[in-house]
Amino acid sequence: MLGEGIIKGMGETARNFLGSYVSKKRLTTLQYPEERAPQFPNARQFPFLVYDGEDPEQGLRCVSCQICEKECPPKCIYIVKSKDKRVDYKGQMQFYPATFNIDISVCMSCQICVEVCPFESIKMDTEFELSSTDRFAGLLVRKPQLAKSNDHYRKIHPHDAAESDAALAAEVAKVQAKAKADAEAKAKAAAAKVAPAAPPPEATLAK
Protein backbone atom coordinates (compact mmCIF):
# COMPACT_ATOMS: atom_id res chain seq x y z
CA MET A 1 0.00 0.00 0.00
CA LEU A 2 1.12 3.51 -0.70
CA GLY A 3 2.88 4.97 2.28
CA GLU A 4 4.09 1.72 3.78
CA GLY A 5 7.72 2.37 2.98
CA ILE A 6 7.44 5.91 4.25
CA ILE A 7 5.98 4.74 7.56
CA LYS A 8 8.76 2.17 7.92
CA GLY A 9 11.31 4.86 7.20
CA MET A 10 9.77 7.12 9.80
CA GLY A 11 10.00 4.29 12.27
CA GLU A 12 13.65 3.88 11.45
CA THR A 13 14.45 7.54 12.00
CA ALA A 14 12.48 7.51 15.24
CA ARG A 15 14.51 4.54 16.38
CA ASN A 16 17.70 6.41 15.60
CA PHE A 17 16.42 9.52 17.34
CA LEU A 18 15.72 7.62 20.53
CA GLY A 19 18.76 5.44 20.09
CA SER A 20 21.02 8.44 20.04
CA TYR A 21 19.95 9.15 23.60
CA VAL A 22 20.24 5.57 24.73
CA SER A 23 23.22 4.05 23.01
CA LYS A 24 26.54 5.78 22.89
CA LYS A 25 27.45 3.63 19.92
CA ARG A 26 25.09 5.43 17.62
CA LEU A 27 26.48 8.80 18.51
CA THR A 28 29.92 8.93 16.96
CA THR A 29 30.59 12.63 17.38
CA LEU A 30 33.41 13.68 19.65
CA GLN A 31 33.24 17.05 21.37
CA TYR A 32 36.62 17.94 20.03
CA PRO A 33 38.58 20.27 22.26
CA GLU A 34 37.32 18.56 25.40
CA GLU A 35 37.15 15.03 24.11
CA ARG A 36 39.85 13.50 21.99
CA ALA A 37 39.97 10.35 20.00
CA PRO A 38 42.57 7.88 21.19
CA GLN A 39 45.77 8.03 19.19
CA PHE A 40 46.54 4.91 17.27
CA PRO A 41 50.08 3.62 17.56
CA ASN A 42 50.59 3.99 13.82
CA ALA A 43 49.30 7.55 13.65
CA ARG A 44 51.35 9.87 11.50
CA GLN A 45 51.07 13.60 11.13
CA PHE A 46 54.29 15.44 10.53
CA PRO A 47 57.92 14.32 10.57
CA PHE A 48 60.46 15.20 13.20
CA LEU A 49 64.18 14.60 13.54
CA VAL A 50 65.31 12.27 16.27
CA TYR A 51 68.22 13.14 18.49
CA ASP A 52 69.84 11.04 21.16
CA GLY A 53 70.96 12.33 24.48
CA GLU A 54 70.34 15.82 25.72
CA ASP A 55 71.59 18.18 23.08
CA PRO A 56 69.33 18.49 20.06
CA GLU A 57 72.16 19.83 17.94
CA GLN A 58 74.86 17.31 18.83
CA GLY A 59 72.68 14.25 19.15
CA LEU A 60 70.92 14.63 15.84
CA ARG A 61 71.02 11.33 14.02
CA CYS A 62 70.61 12.87 10.59
CA VAL A 63 73.76 12.65 8.50
CA SER A 64 72.41 14.85 5.73
CA CYS A 65 72.39 12.09 3.12
CA GLN A 66 69.50 13.84 1.39
CA ILE A 67 67.69 10.67 0.40
CA CYS A 68 64.49 11.93 1.97
CA GLU A 69 64.86 15.19 0.12
CA LYS A 70 65.03 13.30 -3.15
CA GLU A 71 62.28 10.83 -2.37
CA CYS A 72 59.82 13.28 -0.81
CA PRO A 73 56.87 13.22 -3.20
CA PRO A 74 55.87 16.88 -2.87
CA LYS A 75 59.48 18.01 -2.37
CA CYS A 76 58.89 19.76 0.90
CA ILE A 77 62.23 18.94 2.53
CA TYR A 78 65.14 21.30 2.16
CA ILE A 79 68.55 20.26 3.39
CA VAL A 80 71.90 22.01 3.30
CA LYS A 81 74.80 19.71 4.01
CA SER A 82 77.38 20.84 6.51
CA LYS A 83 80.85 21.76 5.35
CA ASP A 84 82.57 19.95 8.17
CA LYS A 85 82.09 16.58 9.78
CA ARG A 86 81.48 15.58 13.32
CA VAL A 87 81.29 12.42 15.34
CA ASP A 88 77.96 10.68 15.09
CA TYR A 89 76.33 8.18 17.39
CA LYS A 90 78.32 5.31 15.90
CA GLY A 91 81.52 7.11 16.57
CA GLN A 92 82.22 7.78 12.94
CA MET A 93 82.85 11.10 11.30
CA GLN A 94 79.77 12.20 9.45
CA PHE A 95 78.22 15.20 7.86
CA TYR A 96 75.30 16.79 9.59
CA PRO A 97 72.55 19.01 8.24
CA ALA A 98 73.47 22.67 8.45
CA THR A 99 69.90 23.49 7.51
CA PHE A 100 66.97 21.12 7.65
CA ASN A 101 63.62 22.67 6.83
CA ILE A 102 60.28 21.11 6.09
CA ASP A 103 57.52 23.14 4.52
CA ILE A 104 54.48 22.08 6.45
CA SER A 105 52.09 23.60 3.94
CA VAL A 106 53.43 21.25 1.29
CA CYS A 107 54.01 18.15 3.38
CA MET A 108 51.33 15.52 2.92
CA SER A 109 52.23 13.28 5.85
CA CYS A 110 52.94 10.32 3.63
CA GLN A 111 55.78 8.90 5.70
CA ILE A 112 57.94 8.16 2.66
CA CYS A 113 60.83 10.08 4.24
CA VAL A 114 60.64 7.84 7.29
CA GLU A 115 60.67 4.72 5.21
CA VAL A 116 63.59 5.63 3.02
CA CYS A 117 65.78 6.98 5.82
CA PRO A 118 68.61 4.49 6.41
CA PHE A 119 69.67 6.11 9.68
CA GLU A 120 66.44 5.96 11.71
CA SER A 121 66.71 9.68 12.03
CA ILE A 122 63.39 11.00 10.77
CA LYS A 123 60.15 9.78 12.28
CA MET A 124 56.50 10.73 12.25
CA ASP A 125 55.04 12.77 15.08
CA THR A 126 51.47 12.45 16.23
CA GLU A 127 50.97 16.11 17.01
CA PHE A 128 48.19 17.36 14.76
CA GLU A 129 47.33 20.84 15.95
CA LEU A 130 49.78 22.55 13.67
CA SER A 131 47.97 25.59 12.41
CA SER A 132 49.72 28.92 12.21
CA THR A 133 48.66 32.45 11.54
CA ASP A 134 51.81 33.29 9.67
CA ARG A 135 51.33 31.98 6.20
CA PHE A 136 54.91 31.84 4.98
CA ALA A 137 57.36 31.83 7.83
CA GLY A 138 55.04 30.07 10.24
CA LEU A 139 54.59 27.17 7.91
CA LEU A 140 58.27 26.52 7.45
CA VAL A 141 59.48 24.30 10.23
CA ARG A 142 63.20 24.63 10.89
CA LYS A 143 65.73 22.32 12.44
CA PRO A 144 65.37 23.44 16.08
CA GLN A 145 61.62 22.87 15.95
CA LEU A 146 62.02 19.61 14.09
CA ALA A 147 64.51 18.08 16.49
CA LYS A 148 62.81 15.99 19.13
CA SER A 149 64.39 13.58 21.51
CA ASN A 150 64.32 9.84 21.21
CA ASP A 151 62.37 9.78 24.46
CA HIS A 152 59.58 11.58 22.72
CA TYR A 153 59.62 8.97 19.99
CA ARG A 154 59.52 6.21 22.56
CA LYS A 155 56.52 7.83 24.10
CA ILE A 156 54.45 8.24 20.95
CA HIS A 157 55.40 5.05 19.11
CA PRO A 158 56.68 2.65 21.75
CA HIS A 159 56.73 -0.38 19.50
CA ASP A 160 58.47 1.24 16.55
CA ALA A 161 60.88 3.03 18.82
CA ALA A 162 61.94 -0.22 20.42
CA GLU A 163 62.57 -1.68 16.99
CA SER A 164 64.54 1.29 15.82
CA ASP A 165 66.57 1.39 19.02
CA ALA A 166 67.40 -2.27 18.63
CA ALA A 167 68.45 -1.72 15.03
CA LEU A 168 70.66 1.17 16.00
CA ALA A 169 72.15 -0.71 18.90
CA ALA A 170 72.97 -3.59 16.60
CA GLU A 171 74.62 -1.22 14.19
CA VAL A 172 76.62 0.46 16.90
CA ALA A 173 77.69 -2.91 18.20
CA LYS A 174 78.78 -3.89 14.71
CA VAL A 175 80.78 -0.74 14.29
CA GLN A 176 82.36 -1.13 17.70
CA ALA A 177 83.18 -4.76 17.02
CA LYS A 178 84.76 -3.77 13.74
CA ALA A 179 86.68 -0.98 15.39
CA LYS A 180 87.82 -3.39 18.04
CA ALA A 181 88.86 -5.92 15.49
CA ASP A 182 90.71 -3.26 13.55
CA ALA A 183 92.39 -2.13 16.68
CA GLU A 184 93.42 -5.62 17.62
CA ALA A 185 94.59 -6.41 14.15
CA LYS A 186 96.79 -3.40 14.06
CA ALA A 187 97.86 -4.22 17.57
CA LYS A 188 97.74 -0.68 18.57
CA ALA A 189 97.01 -0.06 22.16
CA ALA A 190 96.10 3.48 21.49
CA ALA A 191 93.13 4.82 23.27
CA ALA A 192 90.24 3.92 21.12
CA LYS A 193 87.75 6.52 20.40
CA VAL A 194 85.04 6.33 22.94
CA ALA A 195 81.74 6.26 21.28
CA PRO A 196 79.13 8.47 22.79
CA ALA A 197 76.70 6.68 24.96
CA ALA A 198 74.70 4.40 22.78
CA PRO A 199 70.96 4.48 23.25
CA PRO A 200 69.69 1.75 25.54
CA PRO A 201 68.72 -1.28 23.52
CA GLU A 202 65.44 -1.80 25.29
CA ALA A 203 63.08 1.10 25.33
CA THR A 204 61.24 1.81 28.48
CA LEU A 205 57.65 1.76 27.42
CA ALA A 206 56.15 4.85 28.87
CA LYS A 207 52.48 4.83 28.27
Binding site: L2, I6, M10, E12, N16, S20, L27, T29, Q31
Partner: protein, 391 residues
Protein backbone atom coordinates in the same frame (compact mmCIF):
# COMPACT_ATOMS: atom_id res chain seq x y z
CA UNK B 1 -8.20 29.30 40.06
CA UNK B 2 -8.28 27.23 36.88
CA UNK B 3 -10.50 29.77 35.29
CA UNK B 4 -8.19 32.59 36.28
CA UNK B 5 -5.14 30.88 34.90
CA UNK B 6 -6.95 30.08 31.71
CA UNK B 7 -7.99 33.65 31.21
CA UNK B 8 -4.86 35.24 32.67
CA UNK B 9 -3.80 36.94 29.45
CA UNK B 10 -7.31 38.12 28.70
CA UNK B 11 -7.76 39.63 32.15
CA UNK B 12 -4.30 41.12 31.99
CA UNK B 13 -5.09 42.83 28.76
CA UNK B 14 -8.44 44.13 30.01
CA UNK B 15 -6.79 45.46 33.11
CA UNK B 16 -4.06 47.19 31.12
CA UNK B 17 -6.57 48.65 28.71
CA UNK B 18 -8.65 49.92 31.56
CA UNK B 19 -5.63 51.82 32.83
CA UNK B 20 -5.52 53.86 29.64
CA UNK B 21 -7.54 57.00 29.11
CA UNK B 22 -10.85 56.32 27.38
CA UNK B 23 -9.91 57.86 24.03
CA UNK B 24 -6.83 55.59 23.74
CA UNK B 25 -8.50 52.39 24.88
CA UNK B 26 -9.25 51.14 21.36
CA UNK B 27 -5.71 51.76 20.27
CA UNK B 28 -4.33 50.19 23.42
CA UNK B 29 -6.53 47.18 22.92
CA UNK B 30 -5.21 46.75 19.39
CA UNK B 31 -1.62 47.18 20.43
CA UNK B 32 -1.98 44.84 23.36
CA UNK B 33 -3.53 42.21 21.11
CA UNK B 34 -1.05 42.50 18.27
CA UNK B 35 2.13 42.95 20.24
CA UNK B 36 2.02 39.56 22.00
CA UNK B 37 1.60 37.82 18.65
CA UNK B 38 4.52 39.76 17.24
CA UNK B 39 6.59 38.71 20.20
CA UNK B 40 5.49 35.16 20.80
CA UNK B 41 5.66 33.77 17.30
CA UNK B 42 9.02 35.16 16.24
CA UNK B 43 10.20 33.93 19.63
CA UNK B 44 8.78 30.54 18.83
CA UNK B 45 10.56 30.75 15.47
CA UNK B 46 13.84 31.28 17.24
CA UNK B 47 13.16 28.37 19.52
CA UNK B 48 12.01 26.10 16.74
CA UNK B 49 15.11 26.70 14.64
CA UNK B 50 17.14 25.36 17.54
CA UNK B 51 14.75 22.51 18.21
CA UNK B 52 14.73 21.61 14.56
CA UNK B 53 18.47 21.54 14.32
CA UNK B 54 18.77 19.56 17.50
CA UNK B 55 16.01 17.20 16.48
CA UNK B 56 17.44 16.64 13.04
CA UNK B 57 20.80 16.16 14.64
CA UNK B 58 19.48 13.48 16.92
CA UNK B 59 17.66 11.79 14.07
CA UNK B 60 20.96 11.76 12.25
CA UNK B 61 22.84 10.65 15.35
CA UNK B 62 24.56 13.96 15.86
CA UNK B 63 24.39 16.30 18.81
CA UNK B 64 23.12 19.32 16.97
CA UNK B 65 23.96 22.78 18.27
CA UNK B 66 25.12 22.46 21.86
CA UNK B 67 27.68 25.17 22.40
CA UNK B 68 25.85 28.48 22.71
CA UNK B 69 23.98 28.85 25.97
CA UNK B 70 22.50 26.02 28.01
CA UNK B 71 22.18 22.93 25.77
CA UNK B 72 22.76 25.18 22.79
CA UNK B 73 19.40 26.86 23.11
CA UNK B 74 20.88 30.30 22.54
CA UNK B 75 22.12 29.24 19.14
CA UNK B 76 19.47 31.43 17.53
CA UNK B 77 21.08 34.50 19.10
CA UNK B 78 24.36 33.64 17.44
CA UNK B 79 22.58 32.95 14.18
CA UNK B 80 20.70 36.22 14.42
CA UNK B 81 23.88 38.18 15.04
CA UNK B 82 25.51 36.42 12.14
CA UNK B 83 22.59 37.19 9.84
CA UNK B 84 22.61 40.83 10.91
CA UNK B 85 26.29 41.51 10.37
CA UNK B 86 26.54 39.62 7.12
CA UNK B 87 27.07 41.59 3.97
CA UNK B 88 23.84 42.17 2.14
CA UNK B 89 24.62 41.27 -1.44
CA UNK B 90 22.25 42.43 -4.13
CA UNK B 91 23.03 41.24 -7.65
CA UNK B 92 24.01 44.12 -9.87
CA UNK B 93 21.38 43.41 -12.48
CA UNK B 94 18.61 42.56 -10.03
CA UNK B 95 15.43 44.55 -9.84
CA UNK B 96 16.46 46.25 -6.63
CA UNK B 97 13.12 47.53 -5.41
CA UNK B 98 11.33 44.25 -5.80
CA UNK B 99 14.34 42.40 -4.52
CA UNK B 100 14.10 44.48 -1.37
CA UNK B 101 10.34 44.23 -1.02
CA UNK B 102 10.00 40.49 -1.51
CA UNK B 103 11.03 39.35 1.98
CA UNK B 104 8.76 41.95 3.54
CA UNK B 105 5.90 40.91 1.32
CA UNK B 106 6.44 37.37 2.47
CA UNK B 107 6.54 38.08 6.18
CA UNK B 108 3.53 40.44 6.28
CA UNK B 109 0.75 38.05 5.22
CA UNK B 110 2.31 35.36 7.36
CA UNK B 111 1.82 37.62 10.38
CA UNK B 112 -1.61 38.86 9.35
CA UNK B 113 -3.15 35.40 9.28
CA UNK B 114 -2.65 35.11 13.02
CA UNK B 115 -5.46 37.62 13.40
CA UNK B 116 -8.10 34.92 13.11
CA UNK B 117 -6.47 32.01 14.94
CA UNK B 118 -7.94 31.17 18.35
CA UNK B 119 -5.00 30.59 20.66
CA UNK B 120 -7.15 29.89 23.67
CA UNK B 121 -10.53 30.46 25.17
CA UNK B 122 -11.54 34.06 24.30
CA UNK B 123 -8.13 34.56 22.79
CA UNK B 124 -8.87 35.35 19.19
CA UNK B 125 -7.65 38.65 17.86
CA UNK B 126 -10.58 39.28 15.55
CA UNK B 127 -13.52 36.96 15.56
CA UNK B 128 -14.36 37.16 11.89
CA UNK B 129 -17.41 35.24 10.75
CA UNK B 130 -15.48 34.17 7.66
CA UNK B 131 -12.22 33.67 9.49
CA UNK B 132 -11.26 30.59 7.54
CA UNK B 133 -11.78 32.39 4.29
CA UNK B 134 -9.68 35.28 5.54
CA UNK B 135 -6.91 32.91 6.49
CA UNK B 136 -6.75 31.30 3.08
CA UNK B 137 -7.10 34.55 1.22
CA UNK B 138 -4.29 36.26 3.07
CA UNK B 139 -2.15 33.16 3.22
CA UNK B 140 -2.32 32.75 -0.54
CA UNK B 141 -0.73 36.13 -1.10
CA UNK B 142 2.67 34.79 -0.02
CA UNK B 143 2.90 33.33 -3.49
CA UNK B 144 3.29 36.80 -4.86
CA UNK B 145 6.24 37.43 -2.58
CA UNK B 146 7.90 34.22 -3.64
CA UNK B 147 7.55 35.10 -7.25
CA UNK B 148 8.81 38.62 -6.60
CA UNK B 149 11.92 37.16 -5.01
CA UNK B 150 12.51 34.68 -7.76
CA UNK B 151 11.94 37.09 -10.57
CA UNK B 152 13.81 40.07 -9.24
CA UNK B 153 16.98 38.14 -8.43
CA UNK B 154 17.67 37.71 -12.12
CA UNK B 155 19.05 34.27 -11.68
CA UNK B 156 18.04 31.19 -13.60
CA UNK B 157 17.96 29.05 -10.51
CA UNK B 158 15.82 31.52 -8.59
CA UNK B 159 13.47 31.72 -11.53
CA UNK B 160 13.19 27.95 -11.50
CA UNK B 161 12.50 28.06 -7.81
CA UNK B 162 9.85 30.71 -8.22
CA UNK B 163 8.12 28.85 -11.03
CA UNK B 164 8.17 25.66 -9.03
CA UNK B 165 6.87 27.46 -5.96
CA UNK B 166 4.00 29.07 -7.80
CA UNK B 167 2.97 25.84 -9.48
CA UNK B 168 3.21 23.95 -6.23
CA UNK B 169 1.47 26.47 -4.00
CA UNK B 170 -1.44 27.00 -6.36
CA UNK B 171 -1.87 23.27 -6.86
CA UNK B 172 -1.83 22.47 -3.19
CA UNK B 173 -4.06 25.36 -2.24
CA UNK B 174 -6.98 23.44 -3.68
CA UNK B 175 -6.66 20.23 -1.65
CA UNK B 176 -5.80 22.37 1.35
CA UNK B 177 -9.01 24.33 1.12
CA UNK B 178 -11.13 21.38 0.10
CA UNK B 179 -10.00 19.32 3.04
CA UNK B 180 -10.87 22.22 5.30
CA UNK B 181 -14.29 22.51 3.68
CA UNK B 182 -15.35 19.16 5.11
CA UNK B 183 -14.89 20.65 8.56
CA UNK B 184 -16.91 23.66 7.57
CA UNK B 185 -19.67 21.34 6.37
CA UNK B 186 -19.85 19.56 9.70
CA UNK B 187 -19.34 22.56 11.95
CA UNK B 188 -21.60 24.71 9.84
CA UNK B 189 -19.48 27.80 10.23
CA UNK B 190 -16.50 29.57 8.71
CA UNK B 191 -15.67 31.18 12.01
CA UNK B 192 -12.70 29.52 13.63
CA UNK B 193 -13.82 30.00 17.28
CA UNK B 194 -17.10 28.36 16.38
CA UNK B 195 -15.29 25.43 14.77
CA UNK B 196 -13.33 25.01 17.97
CA UNK B 197 -16.48 25.21 19.99
CA UNK B 198 -18.03 22.48 17.85
CA UNK B 199 -15.24 20.15 19.00
CA UNK B 200 -15.46 21.10 22.62
CA UNK B 201 -17.62 18.25 23.89
CA UNK B 202 -16.50 14.92 25.30
CA UNK B 203 -18.32 11.75 24.43
CA UNK B 204 -17.11 8.24 25.06
CA UNK B 205 -13.42 7.75 25.57
CA UNK B 206 -12.34 10.13 22.84
CA UNK B 207 -12.94 13.84 22.65
CA UNK B 208 -15.23 14.98 19.89
CA UNK B 209 -12.40 16.24 17.76
CA UNK B 210 -12.89 15.97 14.05
CA UNK B 211 -9.68 14.03 13.67
CA UNK B 212 -11.31 11.08 15.43
CA UNK B 213 -13.79 10.54 12.62
CA UNK B 214 -12.90 8.75 9.38
CA UNK B 215 -13.41 11.80 7.25
CA UNK B 216 -11.68 13.95 9.81
CA UNK B 217 -8.63 11.72 9.96
CA UNK B 218 -8.38 11.62 6.19
CA UNK B 219 -9.01 15.34 6.07
CA UNK B 220 -6.34 15.95 8.67
CA UNK B 221 -3.74 13.88 6.85
CA UNK B 222 -4.57 15.50 3.52
CA UNK B 223 -4.51 18.88 5.17
CA UNK B 224 -1.11 18.21 6.70
CA UNK B 225 0.33 16.99 3.40
CA UNK B 226 -1.02 20.02 1.61
CA UNK B 227 0.20 22.23 4.43
CA UNK B 228 3.72 20.93 4.20
CA UNK B 229 3.60 21.57 0.47
CA UNK B 230 2.22 25.07 1.10
CA UNK B 231 4.98 25.89 3.51
CA UNK B 232 7.72 24.31 1.37
CA UNK B 233 8.61 21.69 3.89
CA UNK B 234 10.21 18.37 3.04
CA UNK B 235 9.33 16.25 1.15
CA UNK B 236 7.82 19.10 -0.85
CA UNK B 237 10.69 21.56 -0.58
CA UNK B 238 11.20 21.65 -4.32
CA UNK B 239 11.20 25.43 -4.60
CA UNK B 240 14.31 25.39 -2.46
CA UNK B 241 15.57 22.14 -3.90
CA UNK B 242 18.97 22.57 -2.38
CA UNK B 243 20.57 19.77 -4.37
CA UNK B 244 19.01 20.73 -7.69
CA UNK B 245 18.44 24.45 -7.84
CA UNK B 246 20.57 25.29 -4.83
CA UNK B 247 18.19 27.46 -2.83
CA UNK B 248 15.54 28.30 -5.33
CA UNK B 249 13.97 31.70 -5.09
CA UNK B 250 16.13 32.98 -2.30
CA UNK B 251 19.45 32.00 -3.81
CA UNK B 252 20.44 35.64 -4.22
CA UNK B 253 19.46 36.69 -0.71
CA UNK B 254 21.94 37.01 2.05
CA UNK B 255 22.19 38.30 5.54
CA UNK B 256 19.07 39.61 7.15
CA UNK B 257 16.86 39.33 4.09
CA UNK B 258 17.59 35.67 4.02
CA UNK B 259 16.71 35.47 7.68
CA UNK B 260 13.43 37.23 6.90
CA UNK B 261 12.60 34.57 4.35
CA UNK B 262 13.26 32.00 6.96
CA UNK B 263 11.12 33.83 9.43
CA UNK B 264 8.29 34.13 6.95
CA UNK B 265 8.48 30.48 6.12
CA UNK B 266 8.35 29.42 9.73
CA UNK B 267 5.58 31.87 10.63
CA UNK B 268 3.59 30.41 7.76
CA UNK B 269 4.29 26.95 9.08
CA UNK B 270 3.12 27.85 12.58
CA UNK B 271 0.02 29.53 11.24
CA UNK B 272 -0.98 26.61 9.10
CA UNK B 273 -0.25 24.19 11.93
CA UNK B 274 -2.41 26.36 14.15
CA UNK B 275 -5.15 26.14 11.58
CA UNK B 276 -4.83 22.36 11.45
CA UNK B 277 -5.17 22.28 15.23
CA UNK B 278 -8.20 24.51 15.09
CA UNK B 279 -9.88 22.53 12.35
CA UNK B 280 -9.13 18.97 13.31
CA UNK B 281 -7.42 18.70 16.65
CA UNK B 282 -10.02 20.45 18.73
CA UNK B 283 -8.27 23.79 18.88
CA UNK B 284 -7.43 24.78 22.41
CA UNK B 285 -9.60 22.05 23.92
CA UNK B 286 -8.06 19.55 26.26
CA UNK B 287 -8.02 15.95 25.03
CA UNK B 288 -9.68 14.67 28.22
CA UNK B 289 -12.25 16.31 30.37
CA UNK B 290 -10.14 15.58 33.42
CA UNK B 291 -7.29 17.56 31.93
CA UNK B 292 -9.38 20.64 31.27
CA UNK B 293 -7.79 22.40 34.25
CA UNK B 294 -4.68 23.02 32.20
CA UNK B 295 -5.10 26.40 30.52
CA UNK B 296 -6.47 26.39 26.99
CA UNK B 297 -3.57 28.37 25.53
CA UNK B 298 -1.16 25.80 26.94
CA UNK B 299 -3.03 23.11 25.06
CA UNK B 300 -2.87 25.09 21.87
CA UNK B 301 0.86 25.56 22.09
CA UNK B 302 1.46 21.96 23.12
CA UNK B 303 -0.38 20.78 20.05
CA UNK B 304 1.46 23.32 17.95
CA UNK B 305 4.83 22.06 19.13
CA UNK B 306 3.71 18.49 18.55
CA UNK B 307 2.78 19.26 14.96
CA UNK B 308 6.05 21.07 14.41
CA UNK B 309 7.90 18.05 15.72
CA UNK B 310 5.98 15.96 13.24
CA UNK B 311 7.15 18.26 10.47
CA UNK B 312 10.72 18.00 11.68
CA UNK B 313 10.45 14.26 11.82
CA UNK B 314 9.24 13.98 8.23
CA UNK B 315 11.88 16.41 7.15
CA UNK B 316 14.51 14.21 8.70
CA UNK B 317 13.24 11.11 6.96
CA UNK B 318 11.98 11.75 3.49
CA UNK B 319 13.71 12.68 0.28
CA UNK B 320 12.21 15.16 -2.09
CA UNK B 321 9.73 14.51 -4.86
CA UNK B 322 10.18 15.63 -8.40
CA UNK B 323 8.19 18.47 -9.89
CA UNK B 324 5.99 16.40 -12.18
CA UNK B 325 5.43 13.81 -9.47
CA UNK B 326 4.49 16.59 -7.11
CA UNK B 327 1.91 17.93 -9.52
CA UNK B 328 0.61 14.44 -10.26
CA UNK B 329 0.27 13.87 -6.56
CA UNK B 330 -1.72 17.05 -6.12
CA UNK B 331 -4.06 16.67 -9.03
CA UNK B 332 -4.42 12.92 -9.37
CA UNK B 333 -4.31 11.87 -5.75
CA UNK B 334 -4.96 14.70 -3.34
CA UNK B 335 -7.74 16.41 -5.25
CA UNK B 336 -9.89 13.32 -5.86
CA UNK B 337 -9.39 12.19 -2.29
CA UNK B 338 -10.44 15.52 -0.86
CA UNK B 339 -13.51 15.52 -3.05
CA UNK B 340 -14.43 12.03 -1.96
CA UNK B 341 -13.74 13.08 1.58
CA UNK B 342 -16.35 15.79 1.21
CA UNK B 343 -18.87 13.12 0.32
CA UNK B 344 -17.73 11.07 3.28
CA UNK B 345 -18.24 14.07 5.55
CA UNK B 346 -21.72 14.54 4.10
CA UNK B 347 -22.52 10.88 4.75
CA UNK B 348 -21.30 11.30 8.30
CA UNK B 349 -23.62 14.19 8.69
CA UNK B 350 -26.71 12.37 7.45
CA UNK B 351 -26.26 8.82 8.70
CA UNK B 352 -27.22 8.54 12.35
CA UNK B 353 -24.46 7.77 14.80
CA UNK B 354 -23.44 4.16 15.15
CA UNK B 355 -21.40 1.43 13.58
CA UNK B 356 -22.93 1.88 10.11
CA UNK B 357 -21.75 5.46 10.00
CA UNK B 358 -18.23 4.51 10.89
CA UNK B 359 -18.15 1.64 8.46
CA UNK B 360 -19.62 3.56 5.51
CA UNK B 361 -17.51 6.58 6.11
CA UNK B 362 -14.36 4.55 6.65
CA UNK B 363 -14.95 2.67 3.46
CA UNK B 364 -15.41 5.95 1.61
CA UNK B 365 -11.98 7.00 2.80
CA UNK B 366 -9.90 3.83 2.74
CA UNK B 367 -11.22 2.42 -0.53
CA UNK B 368 -10.35 5.38 -2.75
CA UNK B 369 -7.06 5.74 -0.92
CA UNK B 370 -5.99 2.24 -1.87
CA UNK B 371 -7.21 2.58 -5.43
CA UNK B 372 -5.70 5.98 -6.04
CA UNK B 373 -2.54 5.02 -4.23
CA UNK B 374 -2.05 2.14 -6.55
CA UNK B 375 -2.71 4.40 -9.50
CA UNK B 376 -0.22 7.02 -8.44
CA UNK B 377 2.52 4.54 -7.60
CA UNK B 378 2.05 2.60 -10.82
CA UNK B 379 1.40 -1.10 -10.89
CA UNK B 380 4.84 -2.13 -12.04
CA UNK B 381 6.49 -0.11 -9.34
CA UNK B 382 4.71 -1.60 -6.39
CA UNK B 383 6.23 -5.00 -7.09
CA UNK B 384 9.59 -5.52 -5.52
CA UNK B 385 12.47 -5.91 -7.91
CA UNK B 386 14.42 -9.11 -7.97
CA UNK B 387 18.08 -9.16 -8.81
CA UNK B 388 19.98 -11.95 -10.45
CA UNK B 389 23.51 -12.99 -9.75
CA UNK B 390 26.20 -14.07 -12.14
CA UNK B 391 27.59 -17.28 -10.66
Amino acid sequence: MTEALDQIFVTLKHWLVSLCPAEFQVLASIVLSVAPILMVFPGLFALVTVIERKGLGRIQNRYGPNRVGPFGFLQFVADGIKALIKEDVVPRRADKVIHFLAPLALVLPCVVVYAVLPFGRNMTLTELDAGLLFFFAVGASTELAVFMAGWSSRNKYSLFGAMRAIAQMISYEIPLILSAVSVVMIAGSLSLPKIVAAQGTYGGWLPDWFVFTPWGLAGFLLFMIAASAESNRAPFDLPEGESEIIAGYYIEYSGFKFALFFLGEYLGLFAISGLAITLFLGGWNAPLESLAWIPSWAWFFTKLIALILLFIWTRGTLPRLRQDQLMNFAWKFMLPLTLINLVAAALWHYIPAGFTRWFMCGLMVVGPYCLLGRGIAGKDKTSKRVYRFAD
